[in-house]
Subunit: 503 residues, 2 copies
């Protein structure tokens, strides 16, 4: 590494010496961070220390968010860092159940620290040789798990599932109407997209952004478990065609955000084949189940999809952000997105420039999201991810079994959940005798927000709630944190019951 | 922090003990990373240790990129990490001049390590209270620097300048044709966008993605310094209107990618006002100059823009990724992008939900890009950024002065560069006597790639090259790394001359 001759050794040493205190600063930071990590796994630590926006804005003792012209001392910077963590939320805490992404994987964390130290950019092999190859190999491995022959195809890591889903709509449009790239949407007929009423809102967002219009994103009806009804899809395709619109794209969700539902991919794929439509599978949340021999059948038919979104930062515990869009047809990503900017992607480089990825992205610079995932895969092996996923699904079934017949609980849908989502109402004692009707609905609608507010004020646990369709606010419990155990599930139930006692 | 009663202390201790080796692992990683940081600043270390893709794929000694079913030992994981760094590129090295983003700021790095440890998501105040407020305050500060009254307006950090520019086109369309959100592009007339032929390709990419079509992105002519000619803009607006098209949006570049040119914003703003067009300023590269009292005049008129892209990860040395889209009109970002997903953004939370940012983004989950920037601003103060920027511009002027009359150099354009971009041809001795003409052009076109390949093979320095318009390959030198000094500039010149001696 040190073979370069140079004449600046004296100056360089001075520079290095000047930087010594800053390396020292880095080590003091590491001390703060490792303490934080240890406490995160310590159940006697709160999940959060809640303050309202105005409280933090007014400034907590010694913690001032305002920026100024003058520098602060390094000592103050370290205090700021401690306070930033103190008033934040411990998303790795074993009792944090609020989001689809949770947990704090040490290997993944180390990977992310290395990534920020390397501080490079994915657009060319030239400046990210190792990371570009890791991305290529990992995407191939993911395509093999999807079941595409020899893992052939294409793909890219993007800044989250919403952008991955947006890619899928873009490439579907490019496949059927490539002239839209140059001529705009006026070169195509009125195109319509189909997705479940339970699907993630990013499909609608993509419809708005890409110039389709949200009215042309047609929502499909689902069964009581939140799964698309294939007959409804076919009826709506026929209806759209009769109106003179052109069906283009169907999104099947593998693991919906609220119910954790898996749409029947094979039946949907049959319809897509019949009508020649692009089939996308949004497995942002459920894609991880492909790693589990026990659960991967829930995605049966995924190998028939044209594109798949899969977020390792959700079910697989990879630190944020880590989302992949995988595409069955090779070359179409570049075809759709390339602009051939000569100043970035020079064809006359000395290496094989097909490894440069920048021109297939909608981004220019692209953060290195691959390394932490690659490193976790190395450290756990596929079987490690499988164990993690099976454990989380077991835990959520433990919760389901515990509350399905328990006094004060009503399940939002019947039967064992397909994913780790367990959706339920807690009925406080005061509502238990009340007859069904608008008054009870209104009162029940306010229960989950009240319990959630108490949870956040006391800081003991966090779980999400939301309404869905005509259903009033209910809790959506999810497990993706490998640190969670049955005792944490028990704790959550105790907390809900304790807090709701007087509601 | 430790006030929660719980009954699991025994189990918890076990969990913690089990995790001790992993904290140890983290510390061993820190050791690898701090060594890497120290060496990065050491000029006797190579910038890179180049290998071709096939070499790395075949596997270097003990470094195998392939993923497997079975886990690797932690020892091997540490070796993998060392190798990942070994075969990568030191973008913080004082002699790395290849990209607009370079340098390795220790405070920014520490900030990014904290961010990954906190591992949360920007979409709600609920799970990122401190980061959400930091983003809000920092965006306000940036708007103040732009010159919008009281720093009012809106904005968001996005995954890079290309996405920030895409936002600007989306909100311009929403401002003038809000019905496109629901009805699609067919609800609007044929819309056209204007941007310089020297501008970043992301404007064209946005045109393709959002359904305008690249043919409706009209390229503006520039003067010999790469700056838009306002009269050409007006002529092209008039021409488009005569054809029945509807001009919508003008992008003015503040700091172009290759020449570092600043378009004359005030003159462009006059035209935008006259024709009622949205004015966007792409200051991804040049926005940082707003921090410098000496150089901010180059962006005069930026306060008249409707939106501004500004990437602190470029000129301000913030680690990747850190890009902001700033908008003068409040509420329009949310108006453009909101889908009101009830399961994410519950209106009945106990805190002021106007702090939730998710519904104004095109993403759902969003990486925390703010903290490292906020922390650097705290540690440096505005004056620290100013010093950094002034120093980089001084250094590039040093290079310009050194080579403008030096034998063997030809400047691509005359006069002191506006930004740190210095564009030049190196003419090897064998070409110096050759008459102008196609043969000389062809030979000269091959010089920069050859020198670049030699640089990469020897690993001593890196600088970018590209063709532009009808100009054959030339070097584009940029300085954004605070560690670079005059001696590094001298070194670069020596290296080029040494390598090109026999070309």
């Amino acid at each position: 590494m040190c073979s370069v001759t140079n004449k600046d050794v004296g100056k360089m040493d001075t520079f290095l010496r000047q930087n010594e205190p800053t390396i020292q600063f880095l080590l003091e930071m590491v001390d703060i961070l490792t303490n934080y990590v240890k406490k995160t796994f310590d159940r006697s630590t709160k999940v959060l220390d809640f303050h309202h926006p105005h409280q933090l804005l007014e400034g907590m003792e010694g913690f001032n968010l305002e920026l100024s012209d003058q520098p602060e001392s390094l000592e103050q910077i370290l205090v700021d860092c401690r306070d930033t963590l103190k008033y934040g939320v411990r998303t790795g805490h074993p009792r944090f159940f609020n989001q689809l992404s949770s947990g704090l994987d040490i290997i993944g964390l180390a990977g992310e620290w290395l990534t920020s130290t390397a501080n490079t950019n994915m657009f060319t092999y030239e400046i990210a040789p190792v990371f570009v190859l890791m991305e290529q190999l990992t995407l191939k491995k993911m395509r093999e798990m999807i079941g595409w022959p020899d893992g052939e195809g294409d793909g890219i890591f993007s800044p989250g599932g919403a952008i991955s889903n947006m890619y899928s709509v873009m490439i579907a449009r490019y496949k059927y109407f490539p002239e839209v790239k140059t001529k705009g949407m006026s070169a195509a007929p009125r195109l319509v997209l189909f997705t479940s009423e339970h699907s993630h809102y990013s499909i609608k967002k993509a419809g708005a952004a890409l110039g389709f219009g949200t009215e042309n994103v047609i929502l499909l009806s689902t069964d009581e478990r939140g799964r698309v009804i294939p007959a409804d899809l076919e009826a709506k395709i026929i209806d759209a065609k009769q109106k003179g619109y052109v069906p283009l794209f169907v999104n099947a969700t593998a693991g919906s955000t609220v119910y954790g539902a898996f749409d029947p991919i094979n039946e949907i794929a049959d319809i897509c084949e019949k009508y020649n439509l692009w089939l996308h599978v949004d497995g942002a949340w459920g894609g991880g189940l492909l790693m589990s021999r026990k659960h991967r059948h829930k995605l049966n038919g995924v190998e028939r999809a044209n594109s798949v979104t899969w977020n390792p930062h959700k079910m697989m515990g990879v630190p944020l952000q880590c989302s992949a869009i995988l595409v069955r047809e090779k070359g179409i990503l570049a075809g759709c997105n390339s602009m051939c900017a000569g100043y970035l992607f020079q064809p006359d480089k000395q290496y094989d420039v097909t490894y440069d990825t920048g021109d297939k992205a909608i981004q220019c610079g692209r953060h290195v999201d691959i390394f932490k995932f690659w490193l976790m895969w190395k450290a756990k092996g596929t079987i490690g991810f499988e164990q993690h996923i099976d454990k989380c699904l077991d835990l959520s079934q433990y919760l389901y079994n515990k509350i399905k017949n328990r006094e004060g609980y009503e399940m939002v849908f019947d039967g064992v959940p397909q994913h780790t989502n367990v959706c339920f109402w807690y009925i406080p004692p005061s509502l238990r005798g009340m007859p069904a009707g608008e008054e009870r609905r209104e009162k029940l609608h306010r229960v989950a927000p009240k319990i959630k507010a108490m949870m956040m004020e006391s800081g003991t646990t966090m779980v999400g709630y939301q309404p869905q369709g005509n259903k009033v606010n209910f809790f959506r419990m999810v497990v993706s944190n490998p640190a969670a155990t049955q005792s944490d599930i028990d704790f959550l139930i105790d907390e809900i019951e304790r807090m709701a006692r007087d509601l």
